[in-house]
């Protein structure tokens, strides 16, 4: 039995009159790359934001790394926040800081490491995500889309997180860049052994790197499991996702 790192039970989310989640349940095991799927507006990103304490569901329970996220003291929440890294859709690098300063900021604020060791760690992370050395001195405004994703991945990895949350990591990248980014995440997972939770609707990522996934539809999880297991279901959301012309192309290959 694998260790469970994230579990969400009976989540109900409502924005005003609009019911987004009605009894959502999911389980994420240690060490896996877990995909959250669903059409636009199905509440995938909302679910992710609830895991990382940016939003509160109306009711339900969320366990992340053995802590009950909805019932934490501010101090406990701070401890938990240092155990994960988040990659936002648009990168969300601090525009007033260079790439190196962006990566170093949590190390500077939360540890007592000397600055020379921090800058060595930062350079190692910069190289690890495949950025050229000179990129560390640039400001976010001077980076291309792919470099922004890589830089914010390096920032998410700065504190050696146990869970990495990715919000549409490959959106806005060209197919070559997206594939390289997927490979990077797989190889880093091999090396560092973290768990990856990603919101995505990139079919290529789903076919190539995701171990387990859940599909959101009709305000619920319509299927959860490995790709083969999910494909067995014949819910309309899954049909349209994997059996549309783009999905078919993949399953024939």
């Amino acid at each position: 039995m694998k260790k469970v790192v994230v579990s969400m039970r009976n989540i109900i989310t409502r924005f005003g009159e609009n019911l987004v989640h009605e009894d959502v349940n999911l389980t994420i095991n240690q060490g896996e790359i877990y995909g959250l799927l669903g059409g636009s507006g199905s509440g995938k990103s909302t679910l992710l934001r609830e895991m990382i304490m940016l939003l509160r569901p109306e009711s339900g329970s969320i366990q992340v790394l053995d802590s009950n996220v909805l019932d934490l003291s501010p101090a406990q929440a701070d401890v938990l926040r240092k155990k994960w890294g988040v990659l936002f859709q648009s990168g969300a690098l601090y525009s007033s800081l260079t790439v190196a300063e962006n990566i170093a900021i949590t190390l500077k604020e939360y540890t007592e490491l000397p600055t020379d060791l921090i800058s060595d760690i930062v350079m190692a992370k910069v190289k690890m995500v495949g950025l050229p050395e000179h990129a560390s001195r640039l400001f976010p405004a001077e980076l291309s889309g792919g470099m922004i994703k890589r830089a914010s991945l390096a920032r998410a990895l700065a504190m050696d997180p146990q869970i990495l949350f990715l919000d549409e990591p490959t959106s806005g990248l060209d197919p070559v860049g997206a594939e390289a980014f997927d490979k990077l995440i797989v190889s880093l997972r091999e090396l560092l052994g973290f768990t990856v939770v990603m919101v995505t609707h990139d079919l290529d990522s789903i076919w190539t790197i995701v171990d387990r996934l859940c599909v959101l539809g009709d305000k619920k999880v319509v299927a959860e499991g490995s790709l083969e297991e999910v494909m067995q279901h014949n819910h309309p959301t899954i049909e349209s996702f994997f059996k549309g012309s783009r999905g078919l192309l993949r399953s024939r290959a």
Binding site: V79, S95, S96, L107, Y110, T111, E112, L113, P114, D116, L117, S119, D120, I121, M123, A124, K125, K127, M128, E133, S136, F139, P140, A141, M159, D160, L191, L192, G193
Partner: protein, 382 residues
């Protein structure tokens, strides 16, 4: 979290021909400070040329910072011609060490820090000068585009954005009335108070009317109104246009054939030029009332007496001089505000910077323009 209980420990002892460094505990971000200091001691203590062996059998946890710390110290020792090896690493630990060995490259911190020499100072001066010249040229280009859009308006009156102009008059003019009322009332009060004390000494209290009437209508109302408007509308013009630039709305407008000068700049400029004289007139009334109010309580001068005196001493030309400045100030504020908005580059920080620059520039230009008016009008005996 108890930091001390599982911190990274080092103990060391010299054997016959190898210096053993035994590591234990958690080698992660939060537990390294003891180990860092210990390594510094080892660098000093280690006898010349002696081989060192770092034993990490007892290390329970290692993360990137721990691995980098060990690798870095190996490099420092090897640079001093010691032979160093690592023993007792588990498979996982060896994998982590190998990976960071590949990633590690040191930055030369000396290269980054430079002292400011005379050459660099000259270079900076040159850069700033060319920047200033280019900036001025850009501003004239901006004005040129605005005028060409204005002539387009004249040739095609149907293309004038009447609705946008009226909306901007409401936004920049009507909604500014409360704050303008408050500031100019207080200015009237302050002027009246200060002069009441002085004039009373000479028994010339009645001259307070001349004092307030002329200074408020001719100089103070236009200036105060312009400063309030620069702070309120100038900054919002920069921020609005800047955000539209960041979100690529300006580019979208251009591709649809909506000239941003016709759609964004001119409506704001024209609206402000219409609203400003009206606001100044409003400020005149409130400012004089402020003075009247103080005169009544400080000098026991009735409202009727004040108004009677005002009619005989305040030539209408003073009011006109004040009002005529309005469109000029408005033009400066709107031009600078919009121009700085277009200069915003594609990051959030530059909005704040250009908004500040826009307000500072606008207030400076308004005061400079007021000085020019003063000189010219005095020379013309108006």
């Amino acid at each position: 979290m108890d930091i001390d209980s599982d911190k990274a420990m080092i103990s060391c002892h010299a054997e016959k021909n190898v210096y053993r460094i035994i590591c234990s505990g958690d080698w992660d971000l939060n537990h390294l400070s003891f180990a860092i200091n210990q390594f510094k001691k080892i660098h000093k203590e280690l006898p010349q040329g002696m081989a060192a062996r770092i034993d990490i059998t007892a290390v329970e946890k290692i993360d990137s910072s721990g691995a980098i710390l060990i690798l870095k110290n190996i490099d420092i020792l090897e640079n001093k011609a010691h032979k160093v090896d690592v023993s007792g690493a588990s498979d996982d630990q060896q994998k982590i060490l190998d990976m960071y060995r590949r990633q590690l490259n040191y930055v030369d911190n000396n290269k980054v820090k430079k002292s400011l020499t005379i050459i660099e100072w000259l270079e900076k001066l040159g850069r700033n000068t060319t920047h200033y010249i280019r900036n001025s040229a850009n501003f004239f280009a901006f004005l040129g585009e605005t005028y060409s859009a204005f002539f387009y308006y004249l040739i095609h009156p149907s293309s004038i954005r009447y609705k946008a102009i009226i909306k901007n008059i409401e936004e920049a003019g009507v909604r500014a009335l409360p704050i303008i009322a408050l500031t100019s009332f207080l200015i009237g009060v302050v002027i009246a108070y200060q002069s009441a004390v002085q004039l009373e000494k000479f028994g010339a209290s009645i001259f307070i009317v001349d004092m307030i009437g002329i200074s408020v209508t001719r100089e103070l109302s236009p200036l105060i109104t312009a400063i309030v408007v620069a702070g309120r509308s100038g900054s919002s013009y920069t921020a609005q246009i800047g955000v539209m630039k960041i979100t690529e709305e300006i580019d979208a407008m251009k591709t649809m054939g909506f000239n941003p000068f016709r759609f964004l700049v001119l409506p704001r400029m024209i609206a402000l030029m219409i609203a400003m004289p009206l606001m100044i007139f409003f400020a005149d009334l409130v400012g004089i009332f402020g003075g009247m109010f103080v005169s009544k309580f400080q000098l026991n001068m009735s409202y009727a007496e004040f108004i009677n005196r005002l009619q005989s001493v305040l030539d209408v030309k003073h009011v006109w001089v004040g009002l005529i400045k309005g469109p000029f100030f408005a033009w400066l504020i709107a031009a600078v505000g919009c121009y700085r908005g277009f200069q915003v580059s594609y990051n959030t920080e530059s909005i704040g910077r250009y908004t500040t620059i826009s307000v500072v520039n606008a207030i400076f230009l308004v005061i400079a323009c007021d000085a020019v008016f003063s000189v010219i009008l005095t020379e013309l005996d108006i």
